[in-house]
C-alpha cells in the first residue's frame, strides 16, 4: 500500500529562529504591522510503500528522528495519507 507522508520540522519555541525574525521584520517594513510569531521550518514530502498505515507511520517517524530533525533544537510531526 502506498502512502504520502509529510514531515513538518520546526525549531522548538525556545530556540531563536533568525529566518523567521528576518521575515517578520521584512513583512512589518512592508507595512503589515498586525503579525506575530513568524517561524520558518522545513517540510519533507515523500511517497512510501508499506503493508499498513501503522508500519508506514513507524518508518517515517524513525526517519524523521534519525535524519530529518535535530532533536536538540527541532520538533517534528508526521502526517500520512493513503494514495490511491
Amino acid at each position: 500500500m502506498k502512502f504520502k507522508a509529510s514531515v513538518k520540522v520546526m525549531l522548538k519555541t525556545a530556540v531563536l529562529d533568525p529566518q523567521g525574525a528576518t521575515l517578520e521584520r521584512a513583512l512589518k517594513s512592508l507595512g503589515y504591522q498586525n503579525i506575530d510569531f513568524v517561524r520558518v521550518g522545513k517540510l519533507v514530502e515523500l511517497v512510501l510503500e508499506e503493508e499498513s498505515e501503522q508500519a508506514a507511520l513507524k518508518a517515517v517517524n524513525a526517519w524523521a528522528d534519525q535524519l530529518l530533525a535535530n532533536p536538540n533544537m527541532e520538533t517534528f510531526s508526521v502526517k500520512l495519507e493513503p494514495l490511491l
Copy 2:
C-alpha cells in the same frame, strides 16, 4: 480576530530538488528502498490579526506571493485556522 496561518512552499514538480534527491539517496543507503518522490520545502507559520477570515487569507496570499515564494520555481498553498 486572530488567525494562525501556515504557508507551504514547495518547488514545482518540474524543478530539480537537490535537497530532496540527497535525502532520498541517504534514506535508501540506510536500507529503506521503498520510498520515492522525496521533496523538501519550506513551511512558514505566523499569527496575524484581521477583521475576517477572508481578509486574513488575502493578506497571507499576498505575502506568500510577494515575499515567501519564488513564482518561477515554487508553488505555495495557504492554510488558515482561527485562534481562540
